[in-house]
């Protein structure tokens, strides 16, 4: 087992910067997810840890060893690829045994270790089959077993669920989570799917254009996004972001007026999550909402109804009760609690309001 440390790691191809000054320590046995859109540098970072790419500058440590100059095979990492990376000419048994064979592990240990690894991913019944005779989920489990059989110090997983259908993705995700818990191996997992990140990770690293945007637990990332990029990337739907300006502590924008958000004056972006707002019921004698606008669209999700209005120069979504019904164009009032709103700098997108203790904020919301 090992801690992984990246010190100011940068990867450049000519003038293009793939990863910029990546500085992070991944604790022993931690499940870290690198999350971001395509081209953000998350896979490059993982490939540098694996040794498949050379870092242009900076140092990578696995345990106490600086591994920059070591070959991939000498770094004691195992990697699971998006397209499985299986050997099509070998059956499942031989695929799983391959790392033991080429690493000259005594042959007497092979059978026991292969069968133990295959049992962990429930592949016992398929050992004689070739990869072409397996489903996508089974192939990925072979790749997992091949990674497990070596008992490496670090697991690297590069979007291992991307090629699976939605249902299989959920079950394989659960299997990966369980395996990591059982094996207690430091795991670095790359994905662009924020649900995978939220469900699997001990900590999430959100990246964009080669730069770390935020590092934190899934709850921290969700509740206190460091900037508008993270706010807009995490969550389904993503955080609502409205343009406007703060005047005497009141955020004012198109169809929106939220008092008590900040003392800092000037242009700003106000964000809130769809589930942190509520609709104002007409005729209930309540004060009008902070947003008052005609309904742009209304979507039935089954467990909720999503109401979308135009406010602050953007489309803003709010979750309503599943039985809520209205017509497009009907005026609607939306209530926002200032303590559940997030204020960002209009230019840099950086968070202006201080990060809050997530539990406290949720407690306030629940009390309301």
């Amino acid at each position: 087992m090992a801690e992984v440390r990246l010190e100011h790691v940068t990867k450049r191809w000519g003038a293009f910067v793939g990863v910029a000054d990546f500085d992070l320590t991944i604790a022993d046995r931690e499940f870290l997810v690198l999350l971001g859109p395509s081209g953000c540098g998350k896979t490059t970072t993982m490939r540098m840890i694996a040794g498949l790419e050379d870092a242009t500058s900076g140092s990578i440590y696995i345990g106490d060893r600086r591994v920059n100059d070591l070959d991939p095979k000498d770094r004691d990492v195992a990697m699971v690829f998006q397209s499985y990376g299986l050997y099509p000419n070998m059956n499942v048994y031989e695929n799983i045994r391959f790392p033991l064979k080429v690493r000259k592990v005594p042959a007497s240990e092979h059978d026991e270790r292969v069968r133990r690894a295959s049992a962990m991913v429930e592949l016992d019944a398929f050992l004689h089959r070739k990869p072409a005779e397996l489903s996508g989920g089974q192939r990925q489990r072979v790749a997992l077993a091949r990674a497990i059989v070596r008992e490496p110090t670090v697991f690297l997983m590069d979007e291992p669920l991307s090629n699976l259908d939605a249902k299989l993705r959920v079950s394989t995700r659960a299997q990966i989570k369980n395996l990591q818990h059982e094996l207690k191996v430091t795991t670095i997992y790359v994905t662009h799917d924020q649900i995978e990140a939220m469900t699997l990770a001990d900590r999430v690293v959100v990246m964009n254009k080669g730069v770390i945007q935020q590092v934190g637990t899934p709850t921290e990332i969700y509740d206190d996004p460091a900037n508008t990029f993270v706010a807009g990337f995490i969550g389904s739907p993503a955080m609502n972001l409205m343009e406007g300006k703060v005047e005497r502590g009141v955020f004012v924008g198109q169809n929106v007026r939220v008092p008590g958000v900040s003392t800092k004056e000037g242009p700003a972006t106000l964000g809130f999550r769809a589930e942190d707002a509520s609709l104002v019921m007409e005729g209930a004698g309540e004060r009008p909402g902070e947003i008052v606008a005609p309904i742009y669209t209304l979507e039935l999700l089954g467990d909720a109804t999503m109401i979308t209005v135009r406010a602050g120069g953007a489309l803003v979504s709010v979750k309503a009760h599943k039985d809520y019904r209205a017509e497009i164009g009907d005026m609607v009032g939306i209530r926002l609690a200032p303590e559940l709103c997030h204020l960002f700098d209009a230019e840099s997108g950086a968070r202006l309001t201080p990060a809050r203790a997530a539990g406290g904020v949720r407690a306030v919301a629940a009390a309301r």
């Binding site: 694996a50 040794g51 498949l52 991939p72 095979k73 990492v77 195992a78 990697m79 690829f81 998006q82 397209s83 499985y84 990376g85 299986l86 050997y87 099509p88 000419n89 070998m90 391959f98 790392p99 080429v102 690493r103 005779e133 790749a143 091949r146 070596r150």
Partner: protein, 342 residues
């Protein structure tokens, strides 16, 4: 695809195959069992010279070609069974050679067919692994070269394949002939006289070298194309798993290229077994002949203008049987790979 559409696509190819491959093949097969020969007649000719009281006459019986009304020679085609094959293979001579004991191989190599078969098989089976190996080595080298160097390297590698076979063989011959550049250079280096064309085995080495040099670029192009489709994830998996460069080649690259290796081998076997240009280009008839050359030799008119069509047909059929025997293992492997799994 609907049967009608399928046949619309395949039909023209089928017709041409029947016309230009199947019918000639059947024709050659039949001709190997039949012999067309001139019909001769025996006639008595009386020659007389003046004499007294009676002229002096002698009567001779002569055999001469039978002529028809228009004065053309009459021919007939008769069934000869396996006579043409016997004439080519000469089983009695083989038996005699076998009976001679230790002199067997030298006696056998005096029979044209066996001499040609020995050379053809050697030529095919030695060039095959060399062509596949060299082609793969060049493909791997080019694939590992800098991207900017690949174009020029590919161009230079392809040059031997572009050269016309006979011209290529002649060029090599001229390089190594008595006063050729390379012979002179080798003589200068070694200080001994070198006669590359004075004995069979040196000519054979030159012929083998030339064929490998000529065909390896074809194998290279096919393998290079195949290398572009190797799954990079699988290759990188092997790197992480701890496989060395050789192990990656053995367990990932070669299995991936195996259908192409089989393809190149099939093509080369068929091509090499019909070796002909080298015999002409290197003028090796006195020392080394191939089965294809033997067929050609039978077809050439002899001193009296006759061509041994049936023996040429028998030789052709034996050549084809040889190719099929060599192809069987590869075809069986291909069949096994594509057999539906039950």
């Amino acid at each position: 695809m609907r049967p009608r559409t399928f046949f619309a696509f395949v039909g023209p190819s089928l017709v041409l195959m029947i016309l230009f491959i199947a019918i000639p093949l059947v024709s050659v097969f039949l001709q190997s069992f039949w012999q067309t020969q001139t019909v001769f007649e025996r006639v008595e000719i009386e020659n007389c010279t003046p004499g007294f009281p009676a002229p002096n006459c002698t009567t001779q019986t002569v055999t001469r070609p039978l002529l028809d009304e228009s004065g053309r020679t009459v021919t007939e085609t008769i069934y000869v069974g396996l006579d043409a094959y016997r004439a080519v293979v000469q089983p009695e001579a083989v038996a005699a050679a076998f009976a001679a004991g230790e002199d067997f191989w030298s006696r056998l190599s005096n029979i044209d067919f066996w001499k040609a078969l020995r050379f053809t098989l050697t030529f095919t089976l030695i060039t095959l692994p060399l062509v596949v190996g060299l082609g793969l080595a060049i493909a791997l080298a080019v694939n590992a070269a800098l991207r900017s160097l690949r174009g020029p390297i590919i161009f230079v590698s392809l040059l031997p394949f572009i050269v016309t076979p006979v011209i290529g063989a002649l060029s090599i011959r001229w390089l190594f002939i008595g006063d050729g550049i390379l012979t002179n250079a080798l003589e200068a280096m070694t200080g001994t006289q070198i006669f590359m064309f004075a004995q069979g085995w040196t000519i054979e080495i030159l012929m083998l070298t030339y064929r490998v040099w000529h065909v390896a670029p074809f194998a290279f192009v096919v393998f290079y194309a195949g290398l572009q489709t190797v799954n990079q994830d699988t290759l990188e998996s092997a790197v992480i798993d701890g496989a060395s460069r050789f192990e990656r080649l053995r367990y990932v690259v070669i299995p991936h290229l195996m259908p192409l290796i089989v393809f190149v081998s099939l093509i080369h076997l068929m091509d090499a077994y019909r070796v002909f240009e080298e015999v002409i280009g290197f003028s090796s008839q006195a020392h080394r002949i191939s089965l294809q050359f033997l067929t050609y030799d039978f077809l050439m008119p002899d001193d009296s203008g006759n061509r041994s069509i049936s023996r040429a047909s028998a030789s052709s059929m034996l050549t084809m049987i040889g190719i099929v025997i060599l192809l069987v293992p590869l075809l069986m492997r291909t069949w096994r790979d594509y057999k539906p799994r039950g």
